[in-house]
Symmetry: C3
Subunit: 139 residues, 3 copies
Amino acid sequence: MITTLRVQTSGPGLYDFTAAVEDALSDMNLAEGLLTLFVRHTSCSLLIQENADPDVLADLNEFFRRLVPHTDEASMSWVRHNSEGPDDMPAHIKAALTQTSLSIPFRNGAMMLGTWQGIYLFEHRDRPHRRDVVVHIGG
Amino acid sequence: MITTLRVQTSGPGLYDFTAAVEDALSDMNLAEGLLTLFVRHTSCSLLIQENADPDVLADLNEFFRRLVPHTDEASMSWVRHNSEGPDDMPAHIKAALTQTSLSIPFRNGAMMLGTWQGIYLFEHRDRPHRRDVVVHIGG
Amino acid sequence: MITTLRVQTSGPGLYDFTAAVEDALSDMNLAEGLLTLFVRHTSCSLLIQENADPDVLADLNEFFRRLVPHTDEASMSWVRHNSEGPDDMPAHIKAALTQTSLSIPFRNGAMMLGTWQGIYLFEHRDRPHRRDVVVHIGG
């Protein structure tokens, strides 16, 4: 079964959409199998990360901001692709460094996430975006 | 169904092989399911990225070249594994930072890629290589 | 079929558990399909890498240690999440830069790994940990 989830973002950072994935899975009424997420964009990405301390999410975003600064900063003057704004090429790079697809086994109708794992859409663009994540659920 | 695609490379950079994956899928005559790519090497990798502006691909390659320079540069003097040339250990590191496997849902016989998404073999070695990518297509 | 493997770690580095995955697959008696690994933690990760020269594994670990130093080093003074020790937030970042899930096609009952590919648990914490990796095997 395939369905598509929409995640609304408002600037760089991690957006928890675990509950929406759980809803999609429970709609299926399947006991055991594999759930795969696929994001249909190249300037945001997917990440499974700790859902306990919000500082972890802020620190993750800050690490990537420092590793891949906006292209109006001197250290990024080598970048050619600037036509879509100083946050666009860094967004593609951050997406390359993280995930476009993720697969999670499920049993007894529930994803086998660890205690502290949440599913995140990692937005890398500055402006608000609507992001589509395809969910494939197989037996 | 499993098949293997071969991608010929000629130095570092991103090689679009979306059309070959589409052909493998259409050979299957399956309407809906999950397609998984797996690269059988540790010095190149897989990436889904923007297929509109070639500068994006050049910038991606350049970012990784700067993040992980060849081991004959001073900043990489700590590297031990040098027996296969100054581009080999950086290639393993770049592969670790990107993807060995990717999964893409398909429907109506077509992969659900976003408008600007292409599938790339990311070559990290300097010399030409023949790279094998396994394609698994499941219902 | 779903099973869980446990990997015991003793500090940062790459732990080869290819043989345990092979055993789980041969227990299944399935000829062809897709095997997916999922790690139930956010401070370690999964990686497929070269299994020939142990220096490659040491260099990989060292690269990530230099890219994401412990938070008691000056370059990481911006980190907020310090309550679980100077190795915890770097561990989350290193996990984000590598993989939480991996998919590997198999045929004739054997994973289609390349000649030099091994499957590793990449531990990012300083203290010993028991790490759970879920294995999903589908036809």
